[in-house]
C-alpha cells in the first residue's frame, strides 16, 4: 500500500510492555512524507508510548523504528523533528520566562554548545511567532497566557528550528472549540504550504477527520490505517464501545 521510500517515520512490528503489561503489540505504521496523520485511540491505548518510542525515550521490546531511514538509536538529526508533548502545558506556570525566550529554546539544539543566538535566529523567532499568531505577545510572561495561547507558543518552539516532521501529542485538550478550529487551520496550513509532515495524537476523531490526510486507530494493536476518506466509510464503534458515536460531517464525500 505505501511506498517505503517516502516513509519518513517507519514503525515495523513494534511491541512494548511496561513490566508485565502489554502496551503495544506488533504495530506496523509508515508515515509518508507530506502526510498529515491523525493517530486516535482511547485512554491508555498506547499512543503516547508509541510517540516515546519514535523519539527514542523508550526502546521497543521487539521490532524497530526508523526516522528518515535511520534507526532511532543512531538518529542524529533531531532538529528535523519537532515535538509538542502532552505535558507541554503543565509546566511550572510561575516560571519567569517570556514568550520570546521560550520559543528561542527551540533553536538551542540546532545552534549547539558554546554558540549564541544571532540576528538571523532572532528574525526566525519573530517569523515563527507571526506564523502562529502570537507575535504581539512576544514580551509577555508565558505563565500569564491562556491555555490555547501557551499551546501556540509551544508549537512555535517546535517549529522554529524548521523541522520536516512535527509530532503533537493531544494538543487540543482543554482548548475551547474556537481555538481548536484555529489550531486545525494552522495545522492544515503547515501541512499544505510549508510541506511539514504531521503526526497528531488526539481523542477527538470528529474534529480531526476533516483536516487530516490519513488516520490510524490504535488500541495496543493498530486497528485501522488508511486515508481519512476510507476511514469515514469504515465502522470503528468496536474500538470506542457503544456509548460513543462518530460525529458525522456536514460535507459530503461523494457517496458510498
Amino acid at each position: 500500500m505505501s511506498t517505503q521510500e517516502n516513509g519518513v517515520i517507519q514503525i515495523e512490528n513494534v511491541s512494548f510492555r511496561y513490566g508485565t503489561q502489554n502496551v503495544l503489540e506488533k504495530v506496523n505504521l509508515t508515515i509518508e512524507q507530506g502526510s498529515f496523520l491523525g493517530l486516535a485511540g482511547p485512554n491508555g491505548s498506547g499512543k503516547s508510548t508509541l510517540i516515546k518510542i519514535i523519539l527514542g525515550f523508550e526502546t521497543p521490546d521487539m521490532g524497530r523504528v526508523t526516522l528518515f531511514h535511520v534507526p532511532v538509536s543512531k538518529f542524529k538529526n533531531w532538529e528535523k523533528i519537532g515535538y509538542v508533548s502532552q505535558k507541554a502545558n503543565s509546566f511550572n506556570t510561575g516560571f519567569p520566562a517570556t514568550v520570546y525566550e521560550v520559543v528561542s529554546m527551540g533553536l538551542y539544539g540546532k545552534i549547539g554548545l558554546f554558540r549564541f543566538l544571532n540576528k538571523k535566529h532572532k528574525k526566525k523567532i519573530d517569523e515563527t511567532l507571526q506564523l502562529v499568531g502570537m507575535r504581539e505577545f512576544k514580551h509577555r510572561s508565558i505563565g500569564e497566557l491562556s491555555g490555547g495561547q501557551q499551546q501556540r507558543v509551544f508549537i512555535a518552539r517546535a517549529l522554529v528550528s524548521e523541522p520536516e516532521v512535527l509530532i503533537l501529542d493531544e494538543p487540543t485538550v482543554g482548548v475551547d472549540t474556537q481555538s481548536v478550529q484555529q489550531f486545525y487551520h494552522l495545522m492544515s496550513h503547515l501541512n499544505r504550504e510549508k510541506k511539514i509532515t504531521l503526526l497528531l495524537v488526539t481523542h477527538d476523531i470528529g474534529a480531526m477527520t476533516k483536516y487530516v490526510t490519513h488516520v490510524a486507530c490504535l488500541n495496543k494493536r493498530l486497528h485501522f490505517h488508511g486515508s481519512s476518506h476510507d476511514f469515514e466509510e469504515s465502522e470503528l464503534s468496536s474500538l470506542y464501545g457503544h456509548d460513543v458515536t462518530m460525529i458525522t460531517h456536514e460535507h459530503d464525500h461523494g457517496g458510498a
Partner: protein
C-alpha cells in the same frame, strides 16, 4: 566605614568575598529555584561542614594539615556530595527530591561524629555555622576569586542549555542537549559556590542568599534575564548592608545578611500588593 576599611585587612577581605558571593549565590540561585531544587543548597552546605569536620579530625594527628585551609576539604566533600546527589536523582527518577534528605542526613551524621572526635564543639564551630567577618583570610580571597572566575565562565557558556533544561528537561533531551552532563556540571558549580559562601554566611544560612533574593526577583522580573538582574541587585544590597551592620553591632554576618534579604523580599511583596490595590481603584 571607609577609614576602618583602610585600617583592617580582614574588613577588605570580607567585603571582597561578600561582593563576589553576593553576585554568585543569587545567579546560581535563579537556576536552583526554577529547577525546584531550593533544598539542594542546604544539603550541600551541610556536606561542606562534614568535610571541614573531617579536616579538623585529621589535623589532630597529621599536623601538616593544620596549615591547610579546612575549606578545601569542605569544598571537596561538597563536590563529591553533589555528584552522588546527581546519581541518586537518576536512580530515584520518580522521586528526585529524595536525593536531598539522603545527602543531608549523611552530611549531618558524619559531621557530628567527626566534630566530636576532633573536639570541635567550640567557637570555631560557631563561625562555621553562622559566618564570620574576622575569619576571612587572604587565602579565602584567592580561593573565591578562582571559583568565581570558573563559575562565571561556565554559566556564560552553558546559559542556554541550563535555561532550556530548567524549563523542560524532556524537550531539551530531544533537542540533542547533553542533559546529563550539564546537570552534573551544574551540581558541581552549586557545590563550589555554596562552599565558598560558607565563610561569610555560615552553613545554616548559606541558602538565604541564593533563595531569598531570587524569590523577590521573581515577583518583579518580566523575563528570565531580568530575574538575574534583580536577584543580583537584591543579593548585593543584602550583603553590603548585612556586613556593615554586622561589623558595627558585632553580630554574625550570616544573620544580618539573611535579615536584609528578608526585608527586601517583604518590601517587594508589599509593593506589589499596593500596586494591585491602586490599580483596582
Amino acid at each position: 566605614m571607609l577609614e576602618v576599611m583602610w585600617k583592617y585587612d580582614f574588613l577588605q577581605y570580607a567585603f571582597f568575598v561578600g561582593i563576589v558571593i553576593g553576585f554568585l549565590a543569587p545567579v546560581l540561585g535563579v537556576f536552583i529555584v526554577v529547577r525546584r531544587q531550593a533544598m539542594i543548597a542546604d544539603a550541600l552546605s551541610h556536606i561542606t561542614l562534614t568535610g571541614i569536620a573531617f579536616h579538623l579530625y585529621l589535623a589532630q594527628s597529621a599536623t601538616f594539615l593544620q596549615t591547610v585551609h579546612p575549606l578545601y576539604m569542605g569544598m571537596g566533600f561538597a563536590v563529591a556530595g553533589s555528584i552522588i546527589m546527581e546519581r541518586l536523582r537518576n536512580v530515584y527518577s520518580a522521586y528526585k527530591e529524595l536525593a536531598v534528605p539522603i545527602i543531608l542526613s549523611i552530611g549531618i551524621g558524619l559531621g557530628v561524629v567527626f566534630l566530636s572526635l576532633a573536639d570541635g564543639f567550640n567557637n570555631d564551630l560557631f563561625q562555621y555555622l553562622f559566618g564570620s567577618i574576622i575569619a576571612v583570610s587572604q587565602g579565602d580571597v584567592w580561593l573565591i576569586s578562582v571559583v568565581a572566575l570558573v563559575v562565571v565562565l561556565l554559566l556564560f557558556f552553558f546559559y542556554k542549555e541550563l535555561f532550556f533544561m530548567s524549563f523542560d528537561e524532556e524537550q531539551a533531551k530531544i533537542s540533542s542537549i547533553p542533559v546529563r552532563s550539564v546537570n552534573l556540571l551544574f551540581s558541581v558549580m552549586a557545590a563550589l559556590v555554596i562552599a565558598s559562601s560558607m565563610r561569610i554566611l555560615g552553613i545554616l544560612l548559606v541558602s538565604s542568599l541564593s533563595i531569598l533574593p531570587v524569590a523577590a526577583a521573581m515577583q518583579v522580573a518580566k523575563s528570565f534575564k531580568q530575574t538575574f538582574l534583580y536577584a543580583v541587585l537584591f543579593g548585593e544590597i543584602s550583603v553590603i548592608a548585612g556586613l556593615i551592620t554586622a561589623f558595627y553591632l558585632d553580630v554574625a554576618p550570616g544573620g544580618m545578611i539573611a535579615i536584609f534579604a528578608l526585608i527586601l523580599l517583604l518590601l517587594v511583596l508589599s509593593g506589589k500588593k499596593y500596586d494591585k490595590i491602586r490599580r483596582l481603584r
